[in-house]
Symmetry: C2
Subunit: 196 residues, 2 copies
């Protein structure tokens, strides 16, 4: 009886997955969900501030020698309009995912399928915000330096406040894209941890 029981016991412990799964807890037990929430809060802050700073960039100046007032506004440039739309979408998305993140911390860990969906949308948002950053930065650069080859004059020597606002919101968008890239990596790492 003992001799028949032993091989049965051996075979029941034979399948490979057991040690693989046992290796899991030896991995540093960082709670990735908290990191995810922190990054999403930062994303919310940076995108919201970026949008607000861009929208409040309006500046009116009295131009000489003909005393005429002229205004610089973000919506005079399609690139800046795209910027505001892209960052607003990312901001709304961050609110949505912050809610989801809090739910996952309080209730249960997200499923693998959901993590895959989150990686997809995070990557899409990263592309969106990165392209908005590029668009805004390139127009801002022309505003700052002009382009003598095609006769585009610089405007930042007149509209100081406007240009400061554009520069700040572009920097915030760059921060937001970096955060989104980190979020992609974090979610991928969460999936990766489950196979270890």
């Amino acid at each position: 009886m003992a001799s028949t029981e032993q091989p049965v016991d051996e075979s029941s412990k034979a399948p490979v997955p057991e040690p693989k799964l046992a290796r899991g807890p030896s991995f540093p037990p960082i709670n990735l969900l908290w990191g995810d929430l922190a990054l999403r809060l930062l994303l919310f802050a940076s995108t919201l501030t970026g949008v607000v700073v861009m929208v409040t960039s309006k500046q009116t100046e009295l131009l000489f020698p003909f005393p005429v007032t002229k205004t610089a506004k973000f919506n005079y440039s399609p690139a800046f309009i795209y910027f505001v739309v892209a960052l607003s979408v990312a901001c709304l998305y961050s609110i949505l995912t912050i809610t989801a993140s809090i739910f996952f911390i309080l209730k249960s860990s997200p499923s693998n399928k959901l993590l895959l969906l989150v990686v997809s949308v995070d990557a899409l948002m990263a592309g969106l915000v990165a392209s908005a950053t590029g668009a805004s930065a390139s127009v801002a650069y022309i505003g700052l330096k002009g382009n003598s080859h095609v006769g585009w004059i610089k405007v930042c020597n007149i509209y100081h406040k406007f240009c400061r606002h554009i520069a700040s919101s572009t920097a915030l968008a760059l921060v937001a894209s970096i955060i989104l890239l980190w979020l992609v990596l974090l979610s991928t790492f969460s999936i990766y941890r489950r196979i270890r």
Copy 2:
């Protein structure tokens, strides 16, 4: 004997990982490595063509009423220089990963750690190419429509060929960024498949 064997047989199949792993083969057996290679070849083609089209955009025109020749070149705009650099980096990266992809098809599947690294760099490249697309598109739009608010004249009514080249290479960069987003998803999906 039969009665003792039955419960033992039951308990040997009780651990959860077994059915989880057994579900693996029922998943559509698409070879993701081939898809990865195909996407990377497309990435190489789009980035290389994008760079070549941008670099060959030079156009010289005789301008009236003062008969003077003026040239439009991509390197007159920092945004287009950034575009060429970003797409060249993505092109070189695609060559590197095509080689790796072929190696993985011929020799062995990549490790999970390597897949995680690939996702990271793919996401970084997606951000880089997306920002280059945004930068190029926004400058091209000013060239096409001008901006009456700040007195930036349009140039595409003079430099037709130049603008066609810029538009084509921007479209190719957009394709490249979409391919890179797909690659991020594909690699994440490869990791995901290993837990199913």
